[in-house]
């Protein structure tokens, strides 16, 4: 979908209004659930007093529980639709950004601001909240993409590009388009100062996670401690080889990794933190260390 600036603003505004309503609905729903949960507690107290579950209470509890489940589902529904709205706003903004860039009026941002945006976009990456028993999908946390997956326009990827002196680096890049005929990606270096556009084969492009994994619910969707990964060196736009030193314990925490770095006496950097979005598994050993 294409927007003019005004249309985009209008669309965002509409969604914000919806979001506002939803937040109120969620609160109402929560109060209603609360009421039912209280009833359940009371019922249990009664049962405890009577020291036996009479068929009446059996029946009543059953009713209460199904009501509570329905309430919870209702609430979940609302929260999910709120999240959808948030996502829609994100994608509208992203769409606008891509459009603006294609139109050629790419606003130049300073490196400091760029770093901050990368940081905050990683922090606000949608969190995967699966239904019961549902497994984390591809591109959530450490779960890799399907082999046939094609990254979409505007998606962030790690791209293995040749530098000026034939050395190769994994850089942070953005997908411009995928040419199905040649089976090649066209990507832009995220660092505008480089101003480089690269055409790369698929194996040189690794899509970054599109969702964060919650360590409390989906621990399997994280890299285990000690695994060798590629991670974005803090305050740069390059991925370097690193060892996972510590896993995030909550959805907002970051990995703690040790970068391979020969300029340190023991060959590794001090522990540095990197957001889930910027930690990926890469099979080859092309990564270079920070100097």
């Amino acid at each position: 979908m294409a927007f003019s600036a005004d249309a985009a603003a209008f669309q965002v505004q509409e969604r914000l209004k919806g979001l506002y309503r939803l937040v109120h609905d969620i609160e109402e729903e929560r109060i209603r659930s609360e009421h039912n949960l209280n009833n359940i507690t009371k019922a249990h107290e009664k049962i405890n007093q009577e020291e036996k579950v009479s068929p009446y209470y059996q029946q009543k509890l059953k009713g209460l529980y199904s009501a509570a489940v329905a309430d919870a589902e209702q609430e979940e529904e609302l929260i999910r639709s709120a999240l959808t709205k948030v996502n829609e706003i994100r994608s509208i903004r992203n769409e606008r950004r891509i459009q603006a860039r294609n139109a050629g009026n790419k606003e130049t941002i300073r490196r400091g601001a760029l770093m901050k945006m990368l940081q905050s976009s990683a922090q606000t990456l949608p969190l995967w909240v699966g239904k019961l028993g549902e497994k984390a999908p591809a591109l959530c946390g450490a779960v890799p993409a399907e082999p046939t997956y094609i990254a979409k326009m505007g998606d962030m990827v790690a791209a293995l590009v040749k530098g000026a002196e034939e050395e190769e680096n994994w850089i942070l890049a953005e997908v411009v388009q995928f040419n199905a005929a040649t089976n090649k990606y066209e990507v832009d270096d995220i660092d505008e100062e480089q101003k480089d556009r690269h055409i790369l084969s698929r194996r040189r492009v690794v899509p970054l996670p599109l969702m964060r994994a919650n360590p409390e619910t989906d621990p399997h969707a994280l890299f285990p401690k000690g695994s060798i990964v590629m991670a974005l060196y803090p305050q740069t736009t390059c991925f370097y080889k690193a060892i996972v030193n510590q896993l995030p314990t909550s959805s907002t925490e970051e990995y703690e990794v040790l970068f391979e770095d020969p300029s340190y006496a023991d060959g590794y950097s001090p522990p540095l933190t990197v957001a889930q979005r910027y930690v990926i598994s890469i099979k080859d050993k092309k990564g270079k260390s920070q100097t």
Binding site: R110, G112, M117, Q235, S263, L272, Q290, T291
Partner: protein
């Protein structure tokens, strides 16, 4: 501020409001004159106001005289001007009818006209003023100002009873008369010498005294002492000292020493205070220990008497200050003044004030000791737009900073830099600050073009209002100032800045040592091309200091520097931020702190050898490859690095660099708002111009419909930048700039047709068509010969090249295209440099 002043009875008379068109100096008797004792003590209460009103009256009198019609001015000046008739020696026109009994013949001439003959030389009045005709109005006014002063001095002379003082007045009277005759400016020369007469000055010594005795106090108490010092200096500056004859002297030496100083004071400080034709100096800035020793005890006594006499009229908080603290202050001061040796008189006195005071010392004490006018000048243009300076807090840019919390946050901190200025200057929260801004504004005379205060207040309120602070911009502040994050973090105590260094003579704390080691690690890791040993040597060298950026009690960056006090510059040796903390604005904030630190130590130049990776950083921090410092100043001092570029940065002491970006941002916001306001006033859509479709190539800008309503003015008034360059009377700067432009133009791909004069053999008819040939080589020669004394000459020649080309060649030629392309490039270059008008 001190309302307390010394005995300040006025010597100058006050002028009447007589509007009879003449120069009657009124016989109204002024207060008794300068014999110290009589005019001090109990009589002093009204002195301040009478002095003020006397000064005002003199000024009013001058203004009145300046507004006279020109002829009347000449009539007046005739009395003081030499007759221009051949061989006539008469040096002032005198009325033919001697007034009956007036003792002041020359000041009362109600009926004069240009044809009246002079009583002494018989030539008509006109001959006395013929030489004044070519003078500018300004010059005539200057002479008239001297006339007013002469008459005032004459009055004072007549009233003066002390013989010595009378003689001085007579001397000044003659001096000024002579200057009117010869149309020169008065300069006082001779055995008295020139100010300053002694070093260090009284003001400096008092500053030292406050530092020396009270430097350890907490901020509030220190402020009290500082206010007292200011008050004392103010008193001294307006004090009427005793005549030498009224004093009891112990030794003959003392007598003669005091006589000299007294005369100097009369001539350079006292009389010029009301006769502004004479160069005026502040007592406390030009005199030193000798005078203070001579007068202190009597000043002390009289001040105390005065304080006691006035106690009932003071507000209670002032009473405490004046009756409790002031005597203690003065008696401590007395000890230092009469001590055999006291550090306060040491010309090299260096006691680094506690950090929370440094800034206020640097910015405030000087203000206390210089005249109001110069303190206003000192605070400069920089913060004018936002908050005009006031006497109370001279440096006000901090009011714009987001860092209002600084004071509370760091009051207990040790030597951290962050609080420097803010802590001692910001007295209250943002809201009240704004109110006081409004108050302060009124104290300052507003220039004609200045905005109404209400508008400014309104704009500031809009900018600061919370709705402006939220929204997507707050989440993605892409355009936030580079140092914004760093400043926020400093405010929240996440990071801090400290100047640390090793010492061989005094103990170095363990903390400092650990930081130095940390800094050495940061430098050697970030600067892999520097030998580690070399880094260690300099970081631990006691002559080098390092401004450390501390996070989680570990250095994550720093700037190692060495100050050459005698040379007035600092060399920046290493500068680095650890890699995973880069691009967060720390480097900028570090450098700004370093600048503020150096301004606090009166060092205004940075030099550094930047390697290829560092040049960009230093440029962003205001460094330039253009070294403005004389080579002799740094040669042999600074370390020379091969393959590195020497860069220089000059500091402006009026700027608080850590607030600079925020201030400029705010100024920009204000200007933007003003433009918006203006746009709303004049919003109007004009139909587009059609003349171009009809083949018109260009029209004058001013004929575009509506352009004048937008505030556009024809180029008579150049843009601000351009004005600066134009007015820049440094021909060397212009030369360098133009040379750069010429070189880049020559190197442009479209420049090839214009590099040399057109060869007559190749183009035989060229010079038939082109009467004024011009080319880039000729321009280069002219530049070398310093022909381009203004940019306009340069632009004219360059434009000539292009117009010649377009005249001779047809539009479809390569030459023609080159001319257009190069012209466009040239204009862009000039615009970039602010050398272009449109």
């Amino acid at each position: 501020m001190s309302q307390l002043s010394g005995s300040t009875s006025e010597v100058g008379p006050s002028s009447s409001q007589s509007d009879d068109g003449t120069s009657r100096i009124p016989p109204q008797p002024p207060p008794p004159s300068s014999s110290g004792v009589s005019s001090s003590g109990s009589a002093a209460a009204a002195d301040q106001s009478s002095r003020q009103s006397n000064l005002q009256r003199i000024q009013q009198r001058k203004q009145q005289v300046y507004n006279w019609p020109h002829n009347k001015k000449l009539l007046k000046l005739a009395i003081y001007s030499a007759c221009q008739a051949d061989e006539c020696k008469c040096n002032g026109w005198k009325t033919p009818i001697p007034p009956a009994k007036s003792p002041r013949v020359e000041v009362s001439q109600p009926l004069a006209s240009f044809t009246d003959p002079c009583r002494s030389c018989t030539h008509v009045l006109e001959t006395h003023v013929s030489h004044l005709a070519p003078l500018s109005e300004e010059e005539v006014n200057r002479l008239l100002g001297m006339v007013v002063d002469v008459e005032n001095i004459f009055m004072s002379m007549h009233r003066e009873e002390d013989a010595d003082t009378k003689r001085v007045y007579y001397y000044l009277f003659k001096l000024l008369r002579k200057c009117i005759l010869t149309m020169t400016r008065p300069t006082i020369e001779g055995p008295l010498g020139q100010p300053p007469f002694e070093r260090p000055s009284i003001a400096k010594a008092i500053t030292n005294f406050v530092l020396y005795k009270f430097g350890h106090l907490a901020q509030r108490e220190w402020q009290t002492m500082y206010d007292l010092a200011k008050m004392f200096l103010h008193c001294l500056n307006h004090w009427n000292f005793e005549t030498p004859s009224a004093r009891r002297h112990v030794t003959a030496e003392e007598v003669s020493a005091y006589k000299i100083n007294y005369t100097r004071w009369l001539v350079f400080c006292h009389v010029p205070a009301f006769c502004d034709s004479l160069p005026h100096f502040e007592t406390t800035l030009v005199f030193g220990r000798t005078l203070l020793r001579a007068v202190f005890r009597s000043v002390y006594r009289q001040l105390m008497d005065k304080c006691h006499n006035e106690r009932d009229r003071m507000p209670p908080e002032k009473r405490v200050l004046v009756l409790t603290h002031f005597p203690r202050f003065l008696s401590l001061l007395e000890e230092e003044i009469y001590a055999q040796s006291s550090p306060i008189w040491d010309p090299e006195f260096k006691q680094v004030p506690p950090s929370h005071l440094q800034a206020s010392l640097e910015t405030k004490l000087p203000a206390a000791s210089v005249t109001t006018a110069s303190s206003l000048r000192r605070s400069g243009e920089f913060e004018k737009l936002t908050v005009p300076p006031s006497d109370k807090d001279n440096f006000t840019t901090v009011n714009l900073s987001p860092g209002f919390g600084k004071k509370q946050l760091r009051e207990g901190g040790t030597a951290s830099l962050g609080e420097k200025r803010a802590a001692s200057v910001i007295p209250e929260g943002p809201a009240s600050c704004r109110q006081s801004d409004a108050k302060k504004r009124r104290l300052v005379p507003e220039p004609m073009e200045d905005l109404p205060e209400a508008t400014v207040v309104e704009i500031i309120a809009t900018i600061d209002s919370p709705p402006n602070m939220v929204g997507p911009e707050a989440v993605f502040p892409e355009n936030a100032p580079r140092d914004e994050t760093a400043k926020q973090e400093e405010l929240r105590g996440i990071i801090s800045f400290h100047v640390v260094g090793n010492s061989l003579t005094s103990a170095v704390s363990k903390q400092t040592m650990l930081w130095l080691i940390g800094l050495q690690n940061v430098f050697s890791h970030q600067l892999p091309r520097m030998p580690k040993e070399y880094i260690s040597r300099l970081v631990f060298d006691p002559k080098h200091k390092t401004l450390a950026l501390i996070k989680d009690n570990r250095p994550i960056g720093g700037i190692c520097f060495r100050t050459f006090m005698t040379q007035g510059f600092t060399e920046i040796v290493f500068c680095a931020v650890t890699s995973n903390e880069q691009v967060k604005g720390y480097g900028t904030h570090l450098m700004n702190h370093l600048k503020d630190y150096h301004i606090g130590h009166n060092i205004y130049h940075f030099l550094t050898f930047a390697d290829e990776f560092a040049i960009g950083y230093f440029k962003k921090q205001g460094f330039s490859k253009d070294i403005k410092l004389a080579r002799t100043i740094y040669q042999g001092f600074i370390k020379d690095y091969e393959g590195a570029t020497l860069m220089h940065c000059e500091l402006d002491p009026r700027i608080v660099y850590t607030e600079f970006i925020a201030v400029v941002r705010k100024q920009k916001e204000v200007v933007k708002k003003l433009i918006e306001m203006r746009q709303q006033e004049v919003q109007k859509v004009h139909p587009g111009l059609t003349c171009f479709r009809e083949g018109v190539r260009g029209i004058p800008v001013e004929s575009i419909p509506g352009i004048r309503e937008t505030g556009w003015r024809p180029v008579a008034r150049a843009t601000r930048v351009a004005r600066v360059t134009e007015e820049c009377n440094d021909p060397d700067t212009l030369l360098t700039t133009l040379k750069n432009v010429l070189t880049t133009v020559k190197n442009h791909t479209a420049a090839w047709p214009f590099l040399k004069p057109v060869d007559k053999n190749e183009v035989p008819d060229y010079y038939d068509h082109i009467k004024y040939p011009m080319d880039l080589k000729t321009m280069g020669d002219r530049l070398k010969a310093r022909y381009y004394t203004t940019r306009r000459l340069f632009i004219a020649d360059m434009t000539r090249i292009f117009s010649n080309c377009r005249l001779y060649n047809s539009p479809d030629t390569e030459y023609y295209r080159c001319a257009n392309a190069l012209e466009k490039y040239f204009q862009t270059r000039m615009r970039e440099l602010g050398l272009w008008d449109k």
